[in-house]
Amino acid sequence: MKSSVITFPGSNCDRDMDVALKKFGFRNKMVWHQEDELPKSDLVVLPGGFSYGDYLRCGSMASKSKIMKSVINFANSGGMVMGICNGFQILVETGLVPGALLRNKYLEFICKNVFVKINNKDNAYFKNIDNTVLKLHIAHNEGNYFCTNDQLKEIEDNAQVAINYCDPSGKIGQLYNPNGSIKNIAGIFNKAKNVLGMMPHPERMIDTSLSGEDGSLFFKNLINNLK
């Protein structure tokens, strides 16, 4: 399986994603944001970080960079595109996934482990995964998912919610909402479910010496689904 990780100026989880993808069997290439064309890929990842320093609006300038034309075409033709954290913010800015990511409710950067409940397994990202709840890690300042009521209805009608923040047993409630996101939304698909944006970082949970291995479950399942 071939993957590509895009590096924007200010990306800082690009190496971590490269390490994770390779660990689970992807042949990964790092792609500089000023390239014209994506290399042949089965998966494209927009990594976390602070592209363009989060200036103007998180993800906004990166969404206009040269390589993104090719990424958007790839996504629109059904290619798998995943945005993690800042990558999610970039996806939102391109319009590939609906909604917006606002400043965290308590106006503070949050770095901690969270539990998320998988809301929809009928897609290439979560199909065949045994767990319903994953323990993942968040580290962000602007992860407060927001959309209009109309958008929310459409998102829910199309089963576009990918994951929600929850407690270890899968219970969804305000108590387990770290950033104020509408309906505890932590990740969301496009309509066709080939594009996934999410705040948690699976690449930070890929061995027992780190906070856990639920990231490993995610990547192992992902590469199997793509085979």
Partner: protein, 730 residues
């Protein structure tokens, strides 16, 4: 402007110093030259009050590749890997403007590390605020934490450990010390020593603006009522540009075009160019018209003294300019050839084709003032007589709750949750433990780091306090299973012109030196911050020690959370019942006098090294050093972290329960072992003549001494975690 003595004094120079400048130059300096002298000769850059004493610190060791004198210290960790590290203060700017002050402190120390070719892999910090009742404390704390996070998070470097304290002596002068560790290949370390004639001098990074002019001079003076007017001397940081600068520099460093490189920190272009010239015994000629400026019509004086951030100066091999420029273009950073190295041994500056400064380098460096300041020795205070009746009436659990909720002991989760501590995917011990631990990427090794200070002990008796801080750092590294390698120190003190403050400095340094020499834990880098005082009130002496240790096999790392019910818990090291200067004495007895606990270096070394042996044999399930709040505070934290309880017993010593549980004797650890290993463990402890007491057995969820003295771990946890969150949300 014609320079006069008065203008020199306005620049923070003394009358004698101005006279010396005129003698050295054999003429009156012009304003640009005076600015350069004042920047190089202030306390912050010249170490004029401290040099004499710092020379006495032990700086050599088997693993030391580079000691003090470079941008940072470097130690060998085997397999051609080396760790570059340093701690630095940004106290004065952080008090004036907490967000930017703290942020640029973090940015500055990371530049010191990547200037040497190392990729930063971990950040730490030691931050100290005034009384929690003081009106400024909350905003300063919030601003500093946001600033540290804002910069470090954006750079993608994990902040893995730190220390926070509150004490009214910091009411008017907070402390912000930032530390960075970087990883480099031993044969790819870069230094600041220029070499060769007619080599191009290159400016890269951000443009030069009018911010931070005379920042280093501001950091070399006490605060007064006009502090707000100093805001323009605080630098403004841009972590995004620094991230680009980091990647661009590392890309350039992968080749062989750099002769010398130096970041522009305190005193900006002035100190960076002069240091490179001085170390290379060369001259440097700069055309100031070539310096990229943010604002128009900046004068030579302003260009030389600006402390705009995210800039570097490089001496390049001839003919490599185009290749280097390409890299900086790729990362959208300024790149300008601004001068060349010369044989003149002078700093020569040109602006609009006119020579605007012409100063022999040695006058600025070797001939800079050095003072043997007067200082006063601190006598060891007399021991307090403790009223046994009074303490015997205390209820242990009530006292414990009070101590766990004390601002200096309580959980600092509110702080470190705002720092990205997991980016780079190698953080195997997060903040909240004895040390932060990160793996050496792609290897079996890991590096542990901790930062410590004990201002109260240093204040009571500087010599003992100085020793104690080094020992505490040693213990914090050992507690996670790391072998201590070396330290960096950040020496925060009041005015060196005050005999008492100077005495505190001299004796703390002496204590640090004695302990680090005995423990073979050399000092490889550091910085001095004097004048932490408002009007004539200085802070408590606060040397911060950043310790670095090595784990050859990261799977052997130890954490402090209790692991398994029925395991046995021991205290290593002797408990004598020293209550003076303990948190218990201050918080419960309201007693501020008396000597700090004695430091026995033999015991420190022996206890620590024996514990490492036990860890190496996989006997230790969890470990934690005993510090503030004594045995019961340490054991409570192990319970809270592991969600387990303990059946405590007090050994049959002569001292009473309160003294046993709350005293702060040094050289002690708590360890958890399984029953089946008990014999072997005790055998090793006996063989090495290490004192130990059995403390108890782990249970499900209660801290239990007897039917009258018990409490659930959930309750303790609440006391430990809620204080800071509530304080910050009100």
């Amino acid at each position: 402007m014609i320079v006069s003595e008065k203008i020199a004094i306005d620049h923070g120079l003394k009358k004698d110093e101005y006279k010396k400048i005129c003698e050295l130059l054999k003429r009156i300096p012009n304003i640009t030259e005076l600015g350069i002298f004042s920047a190089m000769w202030n306390e912050h850059c010249s170490y004029k009050s401290s040099r004499l004493h710092l020379k006495k610190l032990p700086t050599k060791g088997k693993q030391v590749i580079q000691g003090p004198g470079e941008n940072a210290g470097v130690v060998d960790i085997g397999d051609n890997d080396a760790i570059v590290f340093k701690i630095e203060s940004h106290n004065h700017p952080s008090f004036i403007e907490p967000y930017q002050g703290a942020a640029t402190g973090v940015g500055g120390i990371m530049r010191d590390v990547f200037t040497m070719g190392a990729r930063p892999i971990a950040n730490l910090n030691s931050i100290h605020f005034g009384s929690t009742q003081h009106k400024k404390t909350k905003n300063l704390l919030r601003g500093v934490v946001h600033g540290i996070g804002g910069y470090g998070n954006c750079m993608g470097v994990p902040t893995v450990a730190g220390q926070t304290s509150f004490d009214s002596s910091y009411n008017g002068n907070i402390l912000v010390n930032a530390m960075t560790l970087g990883l480099v290949k031993k044969d790819k370390i870069f230094y600041s020593k220029a070499a060769g004639l007619n080599k191009p001098v290159i400016y890269v990074g951000s443009k030069t603006g009018r911010d931070g002019i005379h920042g280093a001079s501001m950091a070399s003076a006490s605060f007064d009522d006009k502090i707000e007017e100093k805001k323009p001397t605080v630098q403004v940081g841009d972590p995004f540009t620094e991230k680009l600068l980091l990647e661009a520099c590392l890309e350039l460093m992968a080749g062989d075009s750099i002769i010398a490189i130096q970041d522009m920190g305190a005193a900006g272009l002035t100190s960076s160019s002069i240091e490179m010239a001085s170390k290379g015994n060369l001259g440097i000629e700069i055309n100031l018209n070539m310096v990229p400026c943010r604002e128009s019509k900046m004068t030579p004086y302003e260009i030389m003294l600006s402390e705009s951030q995210e800039r570097m100066l490089i001496v390049l091999e001839n003919g490599k300019e185009e290749q280097a420029k390409k890299i900086f273009d790729k990362w959208n950073l300024d790149f300008a050839i601004i001068g060349k190295t010369t044989k003149s041994k002078k700093i020569e500056l040109y602006y609009d084709n006119e020579r605007v400064a012409d100063i022999p380098v040695n006058t600025l460096v070797e001939n800079s003032p050095m003072y043997d300041r007067k200082w006063k020795k601190t006598k060891l205070p007399k021991k307090n007589k403790i009223n046994k009746d009074e303490i015997n009436n205390l209820k242990i659990i009530e006292v414990l709750k009070k101590i766990l909720a004390n601002p200096n002991v309580c959980s600092k989760e509110w702080i470190w949750q705002q720092y990205d501590h997991t980016v780079m995917g190698d953080t195997i011990q997060k903040p909240g433990g004895d040390s932060g631990v990160v793996r050496v990427h792609g290897s079996n090794k890991a590096v542990a780091a901790s930062v410590d200070s004990s201002a109260v002990y240093c204040w009571a008796h500087p010599l003992t306090g100085g020793k104690q801080v080094v020992c505490e750092s040693f213990r914090n590294l050992i507690s996670v299973g790391a072998k201590p390698v070396a330290i960096t120190n950040c020496l925060n003190f009041g005015s060196p012109e005050n005999e008492e403050n100077m005495g505190e400095f001299v004796e703390c340094v002496q204590g640090i030196g004695e302990a680090s020499s005995y423990l073979k834990f050399p000092v490889v880098s550091g910085n001095v911050s004097f004048y932490n005082q408002t009007k004539d009130q200085g802070i408590k002496p606060t040397p911060s020690i950043g310790g670095v240790g090595l784990l050859k096999d990261y799977t052997k790392m130890i954490t402090m959370d209790f692991k398994e019910v029925d395991n046995i818990v021991f205290v290593i090291g002797k408990t004598e019942g020293h209550i003076d200067q303990s948190l218990f004495a201050r918080v419960v007895l309201n007693e501020k006098n008396g000597p700090p606990p004695e430091v026995n270096l033999f015991n420190e070394k022996n206890n620590g090294e024996t514990l490492l042996k036990l860890m190496d044999n996989n006997f230790i399930k969890s470990a934690h050093d005993i510090s503030l709040g004594g045995i019961i505070t340490a054991v409570s934290k192990m319970c809270i972290k592991g969600n387990k309880g303990i059946n405590l017993k007090k050994p049959k010593y002569l001292i009473n329960e309160i003294e046993y549980f709350f005293s702060e004797d040094q050289g002690r650890y708590i360890i958890e072992i399984s029953k089946k290993d008990q014999k072997k463990v005790l055998n090793i402890l006996n063989k090495n003549a290490v004192h130990y007491d059995e403390l108890g057995t782990i249970n499900e969820n209660v801290l239990f001494l007897n039917e009258k003295t018990k409490v659930t771990i959930d309750e303790l946890k609440e006391f430990n975690t809620k204080w800071l969150k509530e304080y910050m949300s009100n």
